[in-house]
């Protein structure tokens, strides 16, 4: 069981208000991702749930119990930090055993649990090593192991993959998702990387300046962003925004179209322009086109498109997938 409810949660550091007033419900077993640009308050929110920061106002309920004033350890949550935060003077075994030792568990039970966790995470061969002798990915697995053995009500991840290289990040992303399917425990994951959010989450919470902009499943957010901020933040490459005549024609202040929702032609189409940069990824080609009267736009095309810098092209948006916004940025 790991149901977490935030009720009118406020947080200020001195005069700086980080989270003005926030309500959120996280269901048992959900994988929730907090995503937003840096400084949006996502890590602070996680630390408030963990108990590492005190709320300025409001309440935090964990499994129906008011945990607002409780110490971090008594909330029954486990946290995995961005810097792994392993104890450098202890072996992997002792690192994983530490929370159990603190809980006063007997040696035999500790041993069983540590070995179990090590097996799940492929760490059995490294139990006697110190964190300094491990690679980044192994260290992160130890940090996860230390969290697993406590059998927490929920796991809190604070940008756990941002210190890893790109290939390892993808591998660890899969491991964490798999772990979630295996354990079925609530997980709250903070990241600024929308790809991580899209691929891992059951539910994404998009934050800006301490305010929730939208909550929903990855595809909900992708298909029906509530405003221009969410529309621009979710999806990679970013959505293209056009103001002026092209928007006015469609009864909007601005329109948004994703790079994958436009067709590309060298013969004819709605919006003529010139290719400024083409990025060939093999599977896809991203073309950055200077569209007449609209500025730079990105379009996604097939991997084998032979178009390069300087070629004149035409873009045609898929009208059914066009997003319309008013002057305040709200979706129409």
């Amino acid at each position: 069981m790991g149901n977490i409810r935030l009720e009118n949660v406020k947080k200020a550091f001195g005069d700086a208000i980080v989270i003005p007033d926030l309500d959120l419900e996280i269901e048992n077993g959900e994988f929730v991702v907090f995503v937003g640009p840096s400084g949006c308050g996502k890590s602070t929110l996680l630390r408030l749930i963990a108990g590492l920061e005190d709320v300025t106002g409001g309440k935090i309920w964990i499994n129906g119990r008011d945990a607002t004033g409780e110490a971090p350890a008594s909330r029954g949550l486990a946290m995995v930090f961005q810097t792994y935060a392993l104890y450098p003077h202890m072996s992997v075994y002792k690192n994983i055993a530490f929370p159990l030792k603190m809980a006063g568990m007997d040696k035999k039970a500790i041993d069983d649990k540590v070995r179990g966790a090590a097996e799940t995470l492929n760490l059995t061969d490294f139990l006697h090593r110190r964190p300094g002798q491990l690679s980044g990915g192994q260290r992160q697995r130890v940090a996860i192991g230390r969290a697993i053995v406590r059998e927490p009500k929920a796991f809190l991840f604070d940008e756990p993959l941002s210190n890893l290289d790109a290939a390892l990040r993808v591998a660890m992303r899969l491991e964490i998702s798999e772990l979630h399917h295996q354990l079925k425990t609530t997980m709250i994951y903070v990241t600024h990387d929308q790809v991580e959010a899209m691929t891992m989450a059951d539910k994404i919470v998009v934050l800006r300046a301490g305010i929730i902009e939208q909550v929903g499943s990855p595809l909900d957010l992708y298909r029906s962003p509530r405003n221009r901020f969410v529309a621009g933040f979710i999806g990679s490459p970013k959505m293209n925004f056009v103001e002026g005549d092209k928007a006015a024609k469609r009864d909007a202040y601005a329109i948004g179209i994703r790079p994958e929702h436009m067709t590309l032609s060298t013969d004819d189409g709605q919006w003529p322009g010139t290719v400024r940069v083409s990025e060939h990824l093999g599977s896809d080609t991203f073309l950055h086109v200077d569209v007449e009267g609209a500025g730079m736009m990105t379009v996604r095309s097939d991997g084998d498109v032979p178009i390069d810098h300087g070629v004149r092209v035409f873009l045609t948006p898929d009208e059914a997938k066009l997003h319309r916004f008013d002057a305040d940025g709200k979706a129409l």
Partner: protein, 276 residues
């Protein structure tokens, strides 16, 4: 060419380094040599460096005239006592300032350090009067208190610097793992700060051992440490250079030996966090 230039530069640095080292060490080696001379040879002009009649007479006389062991015990009690008491106060203080700094933490640290810039003689009279009124004059306890107080800013500063090097997330992880404040310090903070704590202890021992202003002014016979023992050879009846040197050699020998064996630790501790 480049290699030659770097070799000659290395040689120059080596010569300069050794020269400075010898210059700094010269008074110690001169004291050591003088302690084996007779009083006459000690003041001879020109002085002889190595070619004199080596004698242990000064050491015998120093032993006969005063109780060396008593002074050693006083020095040990005062330096270890003040270091222990200082750590007891400084570890929690540095912990609090490093991991939960307030608005004025930096100001407090600067203020503490500024007290070290005050000439001690400026507070001699009030401290002397307080000591007299509380019967602390010429007591080990009194000196332990004074040494603790005068070295506390340095201990707090050093520990603060070491603690700052320890990532706060590790302590937060310990808190999430269910460690109480005490266990967090014992199991996580202290083991990680061992090099820093060790060099703080060593430096403080040396400072307390060598301190002469307060020990001379606040002791007479009972609690006099080795610094007072040396000074007793500079008396109104005249200066006894050879005996003074023998007494000095005896006084600095213990701390010199400790310093010699722990120099690696000391240098590591003092430069800890300097490059990052």
């Amino acid at each position: 060419m480049a290699r030659e230039a770097s070799t000659s530069r290395k040689l120059t640095y080596t010569v300069i380094g050794w020269s400075i080292g010898l210059l700094i060490f010269f008074p110690v080696i001169w004291t050591f040599l003088t302690s084996f001379k007779t009083e006459g040879e000690a003041i001879a002009n020109p002085p002889s460096f190595l070619f004199f009649n080596w004698t242990l007479e000064n050491y015998h006389e120093v032993q006969d005239r005063s109780d060396y062991l008593k002074h050693v015990i006083n020095s040990v009690v005062i330096s270890f006592g003040s270091t222990g008491l200082g750590l007891l106060i400084a570890v929690p203080a540095a912990w609090a300032m490093a991991f939960s700094p307030g608005k004025h933490t930096k100001d407090i640290l600067m203020w503490m350090l500024s007290t070290k810039m005050l000439p001690p003689v400026g507070v001699l009279v009030p401290i002397y009067l307080i000591f007299r009124d509380y019967n602390l004059l010429d007591t080990q306890l009194g000196l332990v208190i004074v040494m603790t107080l005068i070295n506390l800013p340095i201990i707090v500063w050093m520990l603060y610097t070491y603690f700052r090097e320890i990532p706060g997330e590790i302590l937060e992880a310990a808190r999430m793992d269910g460690a109480s404040l005490g266990k967090e310090i014992v199991y996580v903070l202290a083991p990680m700060a061992v090099p820093g704590i060790a060099s703080t202890v060593l430096l403080n021992l040396i400072l307390a051992w060598n301190e002469a202003f307060w020990t001379l002014n606040l002791t007479a016979a009972k609690a006099a440490p080795l610094t007072a023992f040396i000074a007793s050879y500079s008396s109104p009846e005249g200066l006894f250079w050879a005996k003074l040197s023998a007494a000095s050699t005896l006084a600095i020998a213990p701390i010199l030996i400790i310093g010699w064996f722990s120099q690696k630790q000391l240098v590591r501790g003092l430069t800890f966090g300097a490059v990052k």
